[in-house]
Symmetry: C2
Subunit: 605 residues, 2 copies
Amino acid sequence: MAEYVAPLRDMRFVLEHVVGLEELAKLEGFEHADPESVFGVLEEFGRLMSEVWSPTNPVGDAAGSTLVDGVVHTPPGFAEAYARYVEAGWPAVPFDPAYDGGGFPWLVGIVLQEMLNSANMALAMAPLLTQGAIDALVHHGTEEQRERYLKKMVTGEWTGTMNLTEADAGSDVGALRTRAVRQDDGTYRITGQKVFITFGDHDLADNILHLVLARTPDAPPGTKGISCFVVPKFLVGDDGALGERNDVVVLSIEHKMGIKASPTCVLEYGGRSQGAVGYLVGEEHAGMSAMFTMMNNARLGVGVEGLGLAERAYQRAAEFAGERTQGRAPGAAAGQRSPIVEHPDVRRMLLTMRACTEAMRALCYYQASQIDLAARHPDAAARTTAGARAALLTPLVKSWCTDLAETVTSLGIQVHGGMGYITDTGVDQHYRDAKITQIYEGTNGIQAMDLVGRKVPMRGGAVVGDLLADVRSTVEELAGAGDAFGPMHRELAVAVDSVEQATAWLMERGLADPVDALAAATPYQRLLATTVGGWMMARSALAAGRLLAAGTDGDDDLAGLLEAKVITARFFADHLLPEVRGLLPAVTAGGADVMALTAAQLARP
Amino acid sequence: MAEYVAPLRDMRFVLEHVVGLEELAKLEGFEHADPESVFGVLEEFGRLMSEVWSPTNPVGDAAGSTLVDGVVHTPPGFAEAYARYVEAGWPAVPFDPAYDGGGFPWLVGIVLQEMLNSANMALAMAPLLTQGAIDALVHHGTEEQRERYLKKMVTGEWTGTMNLTEADAGSDVGALRTRAVRQDDGTYRITGQKVFITFGDHDLADNILHLVLARTPDAPPGTKGISCFVVPKFLVGDDGALGERNDVVVLSIEHKMGIKASPTCVLEYGGRSQGAVGYLVGEEHAGMSAMFTMMNNARLGVGVEGLGLAERAYQRAAEFAGERTQGRAPGAAAGQRSPIVEHPDVRRMLLTMRACTEAMRALCYYQASQIDLAARHPDAAARTTAGARAALLTPLVKSWCTDLAETVTSLGIQVHGGMGYITDTGVDQHYRDAKITQIYEGTNGIQAMDLVGRKVPMRGGAVVGDLLADVRSTVEELAGAGDAFGPMHRELAVAVDSVEQATAWLMERGLADPVDALAAATPYQRLLATTVGGWMMARSALAAGRLLAAGTDGDDDLAGLLEAKVITARFFADHLLPEVRGLLPAVTAGGADVMALTAAQLARP
């Protein structure tokens, strides 16, 4: 099997022509992120991923991480792959220069994340969780905490974790019971058990900073009584040197369907002492705010996991389909056997994989660009607008990219036929890895509740209204763009009409009866996300069309890329975007039937 | 985890009120299959599945079958579970009394297959493949072959296999190279290697009858030169006693993503001799006809695998959702935590699983009833009609039920949240098992090619036309059935219109350009299958409505079942059937864009 190769040409196209890297690079602090520098960075990083990370991926799936005498061992090759990534300074790229970060746009960091995930998603989870922890400290930590911990986390020398879940508190974070008791010296003693802690222990880094949600003795019940603490695996002295081992113990690691190399730990805090030493991050009882900071960052990151897996699955399927011969395709000479890529139904599968992957890429990068604008745009109103759009898109990116990852990796197996089901082939790994992305960092159902409960109502519906207005401008542009854009115009117009009807229904009925809104949440989320995906594809196609019209100066490679963008977008419009036609009835059906069956009726036998 | 419990009430409802078991039981030879006898049989079989087969399923997933010194060992408990099934005479139920079969309708056999698959799909593959081999011998074997082999296969004392695939000949059966050389005594010597042979060896039975496709020395190329042979693991003497071990050797077994307990063998024929001894089944060069007999039987069987997995996934998800508490559902008192089944989005997932499973069940049973009518109806024209409908439905049942199995088992994990991803929970097994059903016995893409290439054109489109006319009658019936049936009426009418447009397009364009038809094949298959699924749900709901109107005599259980049928069918109409609205654009888009990209464009990086 060939290793992963970064799809640099498509990445570059999206950065330059869909999400406006050049404009971003003009913002204060991003001056060094001019397109040519960025593309140089991406090319170099792509090499590391192909040569060093990608070969470790099947090794990790086969060996898994293991727990021996209370210590987690990552699979062969992981420590070296991680060290190479750290030594070259890659983890720092998108972080604040104040903490020795590279000061590149978040957008660039997201492109790197895509590559990390395509090459080895299980290993990529170490930096992903570290980013979440960094974000929590940047936004909520004290100056002293930032000083003490951040630089080593930015360089990747230390990693971070997010400790939210307990056995009885999953989606229901407010039910958590881990205790934190304040000491006279201002530190806290943490006792309790956390589950599903990604990279809760490992042998990749010298220290681990656990961001832990816990409850102080006098805390009110529910989410309003949760505080956030940083609990280092090894205490860190004033001089930055590692001190005593804190009382955080790995009780077990989970055996999972996928991401077997990522150690998913049950962590016990303070079980062998009066409590693990922890330091309050932010105010007492304000932990949910730190949690949302970590989660929002991680939610885009999980969407990007879906994108990375989809890209890898596509590459392998396209390669296999070009090599495997079976049967005679239409138009082939009698007696000739054709590579299966010549069979229309195999092509249909490949185009589906490709179109989904390109839509996901454009959407993830667009979301990242909005995060950058929200942070850096000189105009306050523009920052607010971009921030609101990013907030609206977060559940869409997380849920849609991970649902599509399931579809795309499933098709990746299907293109391989029976060989796809054999573990030696290895494409089943992507499918098994993908399934977790629909679940963690808030299940996709939780995303849908966030969307209809918090995001759509923002500014009385105006945030989603602004988005739809932008989609409508693209519809108008498509109308004048010629026959090649006909299916995009037709289907995007249908889509935006459907979303408007669905949104109006939600705003009216959802306020009257939360059951109706909640029953509609998932189909609404899919409807809006697919429409936004279709918008991204249409914008890509329009940009490609403009570039083609301007002439490609005999650059056949570029012309081929641009033509492929238009064709792939048209395929998306004909084959994938029309799904929206079937979603409006589900949104507007209401919740009565959904809730009607009694427990006895639901338990069928 | 609770073990599988046969959904006897729903099975009974479908048998009695959707597919007409009572009418079938009036056909000659089926007199003993009156509904009460059948339900007694099902109840007893359900107990065996719950108590004996179901507990072996996770054991099989964990241990897998193993190959030690050339001998396949099935996982702990499998031999006993299989023996209990054989000792009680269950395998014989649907077979011809002439070979000691029970003479029950195929329909009843299919209900047993559903239970086998819900309880342990991997083990259920042994009888499934045996049935295919039985069918091949019944229809194509000599009287002497039937005498020698069939009775022991019907009782399950011996099992059968289907040997089609070779490393270079998968979907492209015509490319196979296994050789068969005729000897002076009329037997053949078989040499060659077959791959992906399910239960190619095992320790469940004393003998294995391999049905093997091979090529005689003078055979024309392609499928027209293929002959079919029966190759016993142990030669069988004239007295029925087992004789010499034949030269069939297991070279290896595959490591797979799922169905790990089912030994998938690479078999070598004649590698240590002048060839394995084989006996011609049917005429030389007519092997494809035997293959299609095996495959058609197996294709319904694979659809039923999807159904069985979906039912099991639903049962487990419904059970978990009733027990697991997280968060507060709408309407629950402040501070109360609710079982997740009270959360609308969890309900939506459960209802989706349930509606899909019920639609699959009705469709599979309906297909089986058509097979019975085709075999036994006293009127020749009715036999022909039923046979044509069964032929049309075969690719739909195989592809749709297996695609839905992926959806339903995926939701089964999703309902479990993070716990669903942990292998100890065990629901990931159903998802991993389900994936193969979309691939084997003809990938779902091959089913779609069969549908548009062979089935839709039957009688100039009249077979699909007759089906749509029946759907239209149901639409009319729904129109007069009252408000409760409104969504079913609305969506089934849209669906049947869409299928008619799509079929007309296919018949016209498909003949003109095979690429257009082949590019449309999968979306057309989904469109037609979803419509037929919606038809099944509507027929179920109408039957339930009639029974409710007639009164249930204070039988609250029955009333609850009937009400649930109507609600579940309405959910299907609102949430699942509207998918058809999005499929017509894909069908009629044509093949140009699908085939447009060059090899260089497809290989993205």
